[in-house]
């Protein structure tokens, strides 16, 4: 019996170690290859130069426009996802009847289970022609289309995490507020939501991380021009799209190859930072 227990102990320990090793492996390989690009280009030029011409005779590795591309796509996605996600989260936690909630919540969470390539396909076949034909964009593969599709992908994260945060707010708070004469709306906005604010913030941060790192949708929908967008209908080229589109045909060991790793490195740092923030927020729990 004891032997069995020890074995089990060891096995779970081993799996935990494996996970950590995998993370370390990823960090070392990405950073190890990524920093090599700074032999060919200075750190400042790499970050702030807005020209990306990796295969020109004298290649230019500037990811300024690509960074801006990621930034605007993410902001656009959040502009779609925050109202929808928070709204549905608050509705589910505070206003929906329990029967209705039992149907709606799994439905919204189902959205998170749809593979991103299916979202991309939807954007390409349905949304992009619509944007092009009815909204007057020159081409449907652009910032606007990408933001909407990315936004829909982020909704379930924001909705379910914020709903969880709201539902652990103790009922005594609601009762006290109602008892003081506040109505349901005032109670929700002034008491319950502020009490759950760190959980709600966590939902936003997690959503942000999802939007920054999403690859398939931006490859399929963003259009891929490495420019600083002039309008919401400009095509853009976010970081994950650059890496995904170019890695396949680049020469291993070239500066271009290292530059793509450096982009991954920056992406990794951003996402890692966001997860750290989310962890910090969830450790704080409910505040009263």
């Amino acid at each position: 019996m004891k032997k069995k227990e020890k074995l089990f102990d060891f096995l779970v320990y081993l799996s935990a170690v494996c996970v950590v090793l995998a993370l370390l492996g990823i960090v070392f390989s990405v950073f190890g290859e990524g920093v090599k690009v700074f032999k060919a280009v200075s750190f400042g030029d790499f970050l702030f130069n807005t020209e990306w011409r990796p295969t020109a005779e004298e290649p230019i590795f500037g990811i300024g426009a690509i960074l801006v591309g990621s930034l605007v796509v993410t902001l656009g996605a959040m502009a779609v996802a925050v109202p929808l996600g928070l709204g549905s989260g608050i509705y589910l936690a505070e206003f929906a009847g329990s029967n209705f909630r039992e149907i709606i919540k799994p439905t919204i969470e189902l959205l998170a289970g749809i593979p991103s390539v299916v979202y991309g396909l939807f954007g390409m076949v349905v949304l992009s022609p619509f944007v092009q034909n009815y909204l007057g964009a020159d081409i449907g593969l652009n910032l606007f289309t990408t933001s909407i599709v990315l936004g829909i992908m982020v909704v379930p994260i924001i909705c379910s995490v914020s709903e969880d945060a709201l539902s652990v707010v103790p009922n005594s708070l609601r009762e006290a507020s109602l008892g003081l004469g506040a109505n349901k709306w005032e109670t929700t906005v002034r008491v319950v939501v502020p009490a759950a604010r760190s959980g709600i913030l966590k939902s936003l941060v997690l959503g942000l991380g999802r939007a920054v790192g999403e690859t398939m949708v931006v490859v399929m929908l963003a259009g891929g021009s490495a420019i600083i967008p002039k309008s919401i209908f400009s095509p853009v080229r976010p970081m994950p799209a650059t890496v995904a589109a170019e890695m396949g045909e680049t020469v291993i060991g070239s500066s271009h190859y290292h530059a793509l790793f450096a982009i991954s490195m920056i992406l990794f740092i951003i996402c890692f930072g966001l997860v750290l923030v989310a962890n910090y927020l969830s450790n704080r729990g409910v505040e009263v």
Binding site: F10, E51, R53, P54, T55, A56, E57, A65, M124, P129, Q132, D138, I139, G140, L141, V219, G223, G224, S225, A226, I227, S234, P235, R237, A244, A245, E246, G248, E249, T250, V251, I252, S254, H256
Partner: protein, 271 residues
């Protein structure tokens, strides 16, 4: 723990023995990134059929491919251009007999949407569209419509060929769309009014306009003869007639089976 270690070591040792036991003959290829997909795909199929073959493919560009053959560091050098006089001279000096094997032809079609009235274009005007000089089709005698310029990702061979044959060292305008595949370009051009794009010959579909460039219509014949301006042959160079596994591999690439792979990659077959 100990048992696990022993097991792992056993696996490692037996794996190594298996590797040593086989007589592997290596073929190394380096060179043009345009030829890379052909080399890679044919190498995989070739190795599937020949257990004892180990074909390794590296990029580097056409110059690297030819220089590597001259220096004897690879068996086969891939190039999307012909060897220059300088390189031929150098080969003579160092006693290398550069031998050319054409493995495919590459032709790039310029396409617009079906509603566009412009059916032919000069190479010069095409460059001016892609460098941003022309932004509206009416500047070329078409209707008043913004030109939506569609290009390919900078690391694709199609981009490389187009840039080399059309752009004359000028830069493609940064606001051009960069799409990831020939199919994506075709789809976008098909559905976008005022769009122009370029795709490999194998990707032409009926519901787009294929432009006549400098008076020549793209076809297998005009690509092979080189009359169509955005076309070239893709070759592999060896030092003298290839021998052993390298010969076997090159024969495979030129065979019907190898050429089927070439066509699948969007290039034109040699036969």
């Amino acid at each position: 723990m100990k048992k696990l270690l022993v097991l792992l070591m056993l696996v490692a040792v037996s794996g190594a023995c298996w590797g040593w036991g086989k007589k592997v003959e290596k073929v190394t290829i380096a060179g043009s990134t345009t030829v890379l997909p052909i080399a890679q795909a044919t190498a995989e199929a070739f190795m599937d059929e020949n257990d004892n073959a180990d074909v390794s493919v590296r990029g580097g560009g056409s110059s690297v491919g030819i220089v590597s053959v001259l220096e004897g560091t690879v068996d086969i050098g891939a190039a999307s251009r012909l060897a220059k006089d300088k390189e031929l001279e150098k080969a003579k000096k160092s006693g290398v007999e550069l031998t050319k094997h054409i493995v495919a032809f590459d032709g790039i079609a310029v396409i617009t949407d079906k509603n566009n009235s412009i059916k032919k274009i000069s190479l010069d005007d095409l460059r001016k569209i892609y460098n941003g000089t022309y932004t509206n089709w009416k500047q070329l005698g078409g209707k008043d419509q913004t030109i939506v310029v569609i290009s390919r990702d900078a690391s694709s061979g199609t981009f490389e060929t187009f840039e080399g044959k059309v752009m004359n060292k000028e830069k493609i305008i940064a606001s051009a769309l960069n799409l990831g595949s020939n199919n994506a370009v075709v789809t976008s051009v098909k559905t976008t009014d005022g769009a122009i794009g370029y795709v490999g010959y194998g990707y032409i579909v009926p519901d787009v306009n294929v432009l006549v460039v400098d008076g020549v219509k793209i076809s297998i014949e005009t690509i092979k003869s080189g009359n169509y301006p955005i076309s070239r042959s893709l070759q592999m160079y060896t030092n003298g007639e290839p021998k052993g596994m390298a010969k076997k591999y090159l024969d495979f690439v030129k065979s019907a089976e190898g050429q089927k792979i070439v066509a699948k990659q969007g290039f034109v077959e040699i036969n």
